[in-house]
Each structure stands twice: as structure tokens, then as C-alpha cells.
Amino acid sequence: MTSNTARRSLVAAGPGELRRRAVDRVMTGLVWGAGSTGSAVLLLILGHIAWHGLPALNLAFFTQRPLPYGEPGGGVAPAILGTLTMLAVAAAISIPLGLGTAIYLSEFSHGSFGRIVRFTTDLLGGLPSIVIGVFIWALLVRHVVGRYSGLAGAVALAIIMLPIITRTVEEILKLVPDSLREASLALGVPRWRTILGVVLPTARAGVITGVVLSLARAGGETAPLLLTALGNQFFNLNLFGPTASLPVQIYNYAVAPYDDWHTKAWGSALVLVLVIGCLSLITRLATRRNRS
């Protein structure tokens, strides 16, 4: 099936054949070029982040809070803490919702209603995150909570995470063989216990994959947080008030003129990329093991 076979089966070499071979070589080269472009660009970007970001990483960076405009020093600790707390709350909201929906879709859905749910989940997943930010502002910041808050930010992140968890887990649950379910039921185990005690644990790797994927995505979101959690120079564990986050911190620091802030922006980017990169690597390895 390789081109060697093709070449050997060619009849006498005519003038056209040289041209065809030349075209083939050129296209092969282009395709190889395209293949390496993606990796090259990635290495370029990661290289810049590492190069500019490493000088920023010191103890103060991780433990102190920002200083007044123009004064060099300080750190982004409130932002790191804020991102972690908002992600934790977002996960607490979206994991039960996502798991429940996925279980429903894979175990209970009857035709049209299941299709509608799947459809809307996909639509939700395709929404621009800024639109979700606008929605949460209108719902929570303007009305229910009444002020910019980490809680609003966490809910926005939860909405972003939900479709990812739902779809990933549903696919995984569908892969669990029916024989397992049948065996459990044959033993007299109630259906709900079968799902929670047999099906879900079997699919554990996939569930973790879905959760980690969604965390990686939500951790890097900026636009919705600009409109909901605002930001904070102080440490804030109270989610009913404005909360700092790493992506928003990067944004504010990047567009400013202070060189010290630029370095911190790169440093924050480095931290973010490292965390998200590790998460993706773990999921990739986990799913590969699952497949084989």
C-alpha cells in the first residue's frame, strides 16, 4: 500500500511520469511541512512563555499580594488562590450535574427527550464564553447576589464545564458492556445501585478524564470572569465578594506599561500552562491505557 508498490508497478517511464513524481515529491514535502507547523508553533509559544516567565517565578510571586501601581515587587498569590477556589466550587456544581445528566442520557433516555438534552448540551458547549459571562452578570451579579462575586464567577465556570463533563462521561458510560449491568441485576442489585456501584466505577478513568478536561478548559477562561468575579488585590476566601483569578491578572498586567507587570504576566502564564499541560498529559496517558 505504499508508494513503493505503486512505483514498481508503473510501466515504462514516459515524460509525464517525471512530472507526476515531481508533483508527488513537492506535495509530500508540503504535507510534512504542514505536519510540523503545528508542533513548531507550539514550541515557539511555549518557548516564549518559558523564556519570559521563568525570571518572574520566585517565592514572593507565589505568596505575596500585588503592590500599588508602578511599584515593582509583590506577587500574584491572591489570583492563584482565587482561581483554585473558584474552580473547586465550579467543580462541585458541575460534576453532580454533569454526571447526573450523563447517567440519564446513557441509562434512561427514551428517544426524543434524550435527543433534546443532548442537543442543548452541545449548543451550550458551543456558546462563546463571553455570552455566558453576560448571562451570569444579569442573573447573579445584577440581581441574586447583588455584587461582583467569586460565586458568580464559579457558576459561570460551572456552565462552561458542564457540557464537557456530560458528553465525555456519556460516551464512556456507553462503552461499559451490558453484560456487567445484566450480571449485577441478575444478582438482585437494584438498578440505581448497579449504576452507581458497578457502571460508574468501571468507567472511573473516563469520568476523571472528563472532569480534568473541563477543569483545564475552565482554568484558562478570562472573559466571563471579567464580568462576574471582577478582581481583588487582597486575599479573599469569601466568595460573596470580588475574587482575583490568574487569567484576569494576566490580562490586566499584560496591557499595562510596567515592565515588572509584564514579567509577572509571563510568569503567571507559565504557571497556568504548566498546570493545564500536566492535566492534559495525564488525561492523554490515562485514555491511552484505557483504549489498549
Binding site: 505568596t63 483554585l84 461582583y148 481583588n232 506599561p257 510596567y258 490515562a286
Partner: protein, 367 residues
């Protein structure tokens, strides 16, 4: 195996969180003079708004926290954001250099909003022209011409008339303005509207306008960032941003015909005329002021608060903060190139602060 790894992950996360919590609650900076917070006072306040005074405010709030342990979280999202946030009651106080319009005041959700002046500043026209060392001189005609898109090159005859060293500089002017709702823009467009009929008719004044030309950047920081990054660019920012980033500061021809440098003295000169005749609601414009030494693009910056604040703890905290700002806070202005409030305006600001009520009673507990 999987469970083990998940468990380890959770432990790591807990340890990390512990580290941050310790760092957060850890050694706070020692206090200097200043009264510690009262038991009936809120420990945190949230404010949002102008980037014009942000350098001053972040310095103030950092010092205030050291002295009183009250944390004032200020987010510089632009004056438009400050007006909107206080109007929607999503923050405790707003900050703006563009006064609220009557329409905006009527639309405010929580009742009457007070404008309390905090400091004076200068909107400077900053530039980045590599290779030109003379200080740029601009007139109302050239400045409005640039921002209207009529003057497009640095060696335009109108510019060269005042700046001979630009004669050979055949480069396009890169114009930078604000992309967000900005009080700095308000002061700037207020000035352009009062010196250029064409500008007033075509663009007008406001915190957000329909700019004829130029790039948009977010915040005073964004504009100074863009000017710093782009050669042959021009932008308008509060004085301290140009100074902190070593960008060029232009001399502007004022109403009296003199080219004036923006600094504390010339800004104070611009405010001199206003101090006695300022309107009762303190929404005054300082642009194009009379006076030989007055800097023509000066402005007041206000903090916005509701007259009636139902939350007593917040009302106490806010009024104490504002009292500190117009008294002790003023001594931080000079270092950061803001002009302190004239005495007459301080008196009027005090009256405003004392008029803030909570549950029908005066909120300010006394100095």
C-alpha cells in the same frame, strides 16, 4: 492505582491550599500611626472605576490597610465602569473623572448619588517619537486635527510650525485612544469640544465616543502601554502614567496663549478659578481654564457614593475612608504628581461626606 493517584492529587492540592492560606493570613504589615478599625465598621470595601487616579488610589488603599486594617479592594475598570457599577449597586463606591449626567443620576438604582472630589490631575498628551528629543508643542488646532484624522503625518506643516525638529520626520501618526468608558476620555473630549467646533459637532464629549481614528486600548495603563510599544504614536493619559514610563509629555497652548507644561502648579492654577464658584453638586469642569499659567486639560476626579446607605457597617467604613482620603490622603498626592485639593473644595467635600446617612442618621462617626 487510579485511586492512589487521585488520593495523592488531593493531598497535594490540600497542602498547596494550606500554604496559600498561611501566606494570606500570615505576617501582615505592621501598623504605623492611624486609628485601627472600629467594631461597627465593615472590614472590606469594594470600589471600581477610573484608571486616572488608580496610581494614587492603590497607594492610598495600601497605606489605609496598614493603618486601619480595612481592606479596600479597588478595581480600575474605567470611569464608565465605575458609574455603571455604583448605579447598579454592585460595588460600595464608584470612581470617575467624568461626572455623571443628569440622566445617569436619575437612573441610579439606590437613590441620590454624591460626587466627592478626591484629587486633581492632568490629562497629558504623551508620545513616543524615536529620534526626536525636543519636547512636543501642541495647539488646540493641531491636537484636534490629529484626533479628527485631519493631521496624519508628523511632518504636517501645522505641527512643524511649532516644532521645527519634526520637519524631516515623514512618518504616519499612530493615534491611541481609550477603548473602554473613561473619565480621562471625558476630560480630553471635554477639552477638544471646547476648543474645536468641528470636534464638538462631529464627536462630542463623553466617557465613550465614536473616535474618528486610532487604536483603542484599555485603561490609562493600556494607552501608555500602546504608546510605549508603538513608535510614532500619540495618546492621552494621566500625568503619572507618562512619568512612570518615561514617555514624552507635550506642552499645550492654553487659553491665554502660553505653552504650558502639565505639573502640580499648573493644574492647581487651573483649579484656582473654580474653587469658589464650584456648583453645589461639585460636578465641575476644569478644562480650558483662564489664567496665564493654567494647564488646559486638567480635571477633578470623584468618588461616587449613595447619600443613603442602608448597610451601617459599610456606611461607617466608607465615610471614614473618604474623610481620610481628603485629609491624610492628600499628602500622598505630590509624590505621584497629582495636585491636592484646594482648601475651599476640601470644605465642600467634607459637607458631602457628613451628609451621608444610614438609617436616617449621619454615617460618619466623627474624626
Amino acid at each position: 492505582m487510579k485511586a492512589l493517584r487521585t488520593g495523592q492529587g488531593i493531598v497535594v492540592l490540600l497542602v498547596l491550599s494550606g500554604v496559600f492560606l498561611l501566606a494570606g493570613c500570615g505576617p501582615s504589615v505592621t501598623t504605623s500611626s492611624g486609628e485601627p478599625s472600629r467594631p461597627d465598621e465593615a472590614k472590606t470595601l469594594t470600589g471600581a472605576g477610573a484608571t486616572f487616579p488608580a496610581v494614587l488610589y492603590t497607594k492610598w488603599f495600601s497605606e489605609y490597610e496598614k493603618q486601619t486594617k480595612v481592606q479596600v479592594n479597588y478595581q480600575a475598570i474605567g470611569s464608565g465602569g465605575g458609574i455603571k457599577s455604583i448605579s447598579d449597586q454592585t460595588v460600595d463606591f464608584g470612581a470617575s473623572d467624568g461626572p455623571m449626567t443628569d440622566e445617569q443620576l436619575k437612573a441610579a438604582k439606590g437613590g441620590e448619588i454624591l460626587h466627592i472630589p478626591m484629587a486633581l490631575g492632568a490629562v497629558v498628551v504623551t508620545y513616543n517619537i524615536p529620534g526626536v528629543t525636543d519636547v512636543l508643542k501642541l495647539t488646540p488646532e493641531t491636537l484636534s486635527g490629529i484626533y479628527l484624522g485631519e493631521v496624519t503625518k508628523w511632518n504636517d506643516p501645522k505641527l512643524v510650525a511649532d516644532n521645527p525638529s519634526l520637519a524631516k520626520f515623514d512618518k504616519d501618526i499612530v493615534v491611541v485612544h481609550r477603548s473602554d468608558g473613561s473619565g480621562t476620555s471625558y476630560i480630553f473630549t471635554d477639552y477638544l469640544s471646547s476648543v474645536s467646533a468641528a470636534w464638538k459637532q462631529k464627536v462630542g464629549l463623553g466617557t465613550s465616543v465614536n473616535w474618528p481614528v486610532g487604536l483603542g486600548a484599555k485603561g490609562n495603563e493600556g494607552v501608555s502601554g500602546e504608546v510605549k510599544q508603538n513608535p510614532n504614536s500619540i495618546g492621552y493619559v494621566e500625568l503619572i502614567y507618562a512619568l512612570q514610563n518615561k514617555l514624552g509629555v507635550s506642552l499645550i497652548k492654553n487659553k491665554a496663549g502660553n505653552f504650558v507644561e502639565p505639573k502640580i502648579e499648573t493644574v492647581t492654577a487651573a483649579a484656582a478659578a473654580v474653587a469658589d464658584t464650584i456648583a453645589p453638586d461639585l460636578r465641575a469642569s476644569l478644562v480650558n481654564a483662564a489664567g496665564a499659567n493654567a494647564y488646559p486639560i486638567s480635571g477633578l476626579t470623584w468618588q461616587l457614593a449613595y447619600r443613603e446607605m442602608p448597610d451601617k457597617a459599610k456606611a461607617v467604613a466608607l465615610t471614614r475612608l473618604m474623610w481620610w482620603e481628603i485629609h491624610e490622603g492628600q499628602k500622598y498626592c505630590a509624590d505621584l504628581a497629582y495636585a491636592p485639593l484646594p482648601e475651599g473644595i476640601v470644605k465642600k467635600a467634607e459637607e458631602k461626606i457628613l451628609s451621608i446617612t444610614t438609617g436616617g442618621q449621619q454615617a460618619f462617626p466623627g474624626s
